[in-house]
């Protein structure tokens, strides 16, 4: 399906976050998109409906979000890197089949452009309330990868990273964008493709004796191409290495442990973050997504006042960087977590700091940004 016609040229562009996500998807090799209209994610679908056919890719507007995610799972099995984009209500509808992709071990990318919730909430305004849903939204025990951009450039870079991680680990990867980043226009530098590592899934080569779910040492089973005599068996039921269903608790145990471990044991290959002025800090402000922009400004403002405060921006939200927080917790007295929800990452920081630091929340419940002055106010309050 690769076709060099229509590839974006390296250089500087002025894009919204949604534009950047769409272009990065094509850059990473995405050739199948299925989605259902929902604000504030629509520009991703609109751009891809224009751009994907140019590169020989497929765009389908589905009848709902459930069909959207299921059809990208089918297309990914068909060998195409695949993506969908949505917002909170659609993300809720997708949860069951995120579990299917986890269980079938299918590389897909799901963009959730978060808006204010719960329910229909404020469709056009910012929210960051789907962070814990991204981790726990589908039933049963599983691990997931979720990335959160704070700039339009990061929206581009993390989308490529999302495809690479999904292909490497045979897992769904969620991009936790938000209305702020998605509708903001900024400069984006598109690199020369030769300077970017693009990872493609590990393919099975020999149909003889092939077992659909026999993992290699890296805990990831090679994926067989459909229609080549591999006799693929794939199911959402608990299954053994052959892909055959089983109700044996030991089979469940072995499968789920591997699904958890392939991400937990290799999280050093996944976790990405940015530390700023943390070396001598007494207080560290932790943030991500749009909120991180105000958090960073507040840290600069506080430094001017002579307060020893640092900034930790999370790019990988899941798996959570427990060790990074714990190491900081040994040195700093206080964490402040800035986020546009009721404290979903605040509780993760509390958990990961294991009582060694005090943890405070600053934010609101959605519908507007956090202002740097609000974060600064919290710094002054707790210092």
């Amino acid at each position: 399906m690769m076709n060099l016609v229509g590839e974006v040229k390296p250089g500087m562009y002025f894009w919204s976050g949604n534009d950047a996500i769409a272009e990065a998807a094509i850059f990473a090799g995405c050739r199948f998109y299925a989605g259902y209209p929902i604000t504030p994610s629509n520009e991703i679908a609109e751009r891809l409906s224009w751009r994907l056919p140019q590169v020989g890719g497929i765009f389908v507007q589905m009848e709902d979000e459930i069909a959207s995610i299921v059809s990208i799972i089918g297309a990914s099995w068909g060998g195409l890197k695949s993506m969908t984009a949505t917002s909170g209500p659609g993300f809720s509808l997708m949860q069951e089949n995120i579990g299917l992709a986890v269980m079938m071990e299918v590389p897909i990318v799901i963009v959730d452009v978060q808006r204010a919730g719960p329910s229909t909430g404020i469709p056009t305004m910012i929210g960051m309330g789907d962070v814990q849903q991204a981790k726990w939204g589908s039933h049963g025990p599983y691990e997931i990868i979720a990335l959160s951009p704070s700039t339009v450039q990061e929206a581009f870079d993390l989308t490529i990273m999302a495809f690479n991680l999904s292909e490497k680990f045979r897992t769904p990867v969620i991009i936790l964008a938000d209305e702020g980043i998605s509708h903001m226009y900024e400069k984006v530098v598109v690199p020369d493709p030769r300077d970017v590592i693009i990872i493609n899934r590990k393919l099975a080569k020999d149909p003889n004796g092939y077992l659909s779910y026999k993992a290699d040492d890296d805990l990831v089973p090679p994926m067989a191409p459909v229609g080549e005599g591999f006799r693929i068996q794939s199911t959402g039921l608990t299954h053994d290495e052959r892909g055959y269903p089983s109700a044996d608790p030991e089979v469940q145990n072995v499968l789920v442990r591997r699904l958890l471990d392939k991400i937990r044991k290799r999280k050093h290959e996944i976790i990405d973050y940015r530390m700023y002025k943390c070396e001598d800090a007494d207080i560290v402000v932790v943030s991500y997504g749009s909120a991180a922009r105000s958090a960073k400004s507040a840290v600069d403002m506080a430094r001017k006042e002579g307060i020893k405060v640092g900034f930790l921006q999370l790019k990988t939200i899941w798996p959570f960087p427990d060790e990074v927080i714990f190491e900081l917790a040994k040195k700093v007295k206080k964490f402040i977590v800035a986020e546009i929800n009721e404290g979903q990452i605040t509780r993760e920081v509390e958990r990961a700091s294991k009582g060694r630091s005090e943890v405070f929340w600053v934010g609101n419940y959605g519908g507007r940004w956090i202002f740097p002055e609000e974060v600064l106010g919290k710094i002054l309050e707790v210092k």
Partner: protein, 285 residues
Amino acid sequence: MITALVHPIEKFVRSERLPHIWCSGCGMGMIFNAFAKAIEELNIDPKKVVIVSGIGCSGRASGYWAYDGFHTTHGRPIPFAMGLKLARPDLHVVVISGDGDLLAIGGNHFIHAARRNVDILVILVNNFNYGMTGGQVGPTTPEGVRTTTTPYGNYTEPPFNAVWLAAASGAVYVARWTVYHLRNLTESIKTAFQMKGFRVIEVISTCPTDFGRRNALPDPLDNLRYLKENAVYVKNPDPREADIVWGKKFIIGEFVKIEGKESFDDRIRRLIEIAQKELRRSDLQ
């Protein structure tokens, strides 16, 4: 010399998975047989046949075939099959699933895939109830009959006429048979395999364990006899007359057969050509 007897469809089946989960008297075995026979007689490369199923008794079909098999979530085999088929137009993608899976929880996908004319064959196994979960009323349960959630008889849930639903939504091939009419079913699967677009074969099946038992047909043979006695073959039948009323005659046959209607994947390929031609003309890039 003594030679081991091998069942004629053995090569299409994962024998190591036997015994299967289906009850004695279930119609799935006959559908299995008819399908394998059709593939064999058409000389299709089995490697290129992919079975996608949903949840329920018939949803387990994907796991027993020796083809590539995908067992998806409840109601979702059709969008899965669509994604797979668009990515791999060289494959024969077949959805085998039940009436609850395809017409209740998956009903939206059924009509939209028909509207788009997605190039897949759907074998809709209609046993009038939810067998896997214990025999509850479903979207095709005839009025009046007893199920585990209509203990007084089904007075509240009028059934879909699946044939008319498929025809009205845009399917290019719509046929109905029963598991008693195996030769017709085999021929019909062969016909459908040679067409392109959204093709639906409704197979009226038997479920003595859950449905028959509660409706005076506890013996598997009586279930088959019911189908034999009540199914009436009609040439070029009208989809609107395909309602099934319990205890009355119902129509089987080929209701819709439209050749030459552009399929969804052909439309997608055409769109790509248009987009690439426009791109070459413009100097935007």
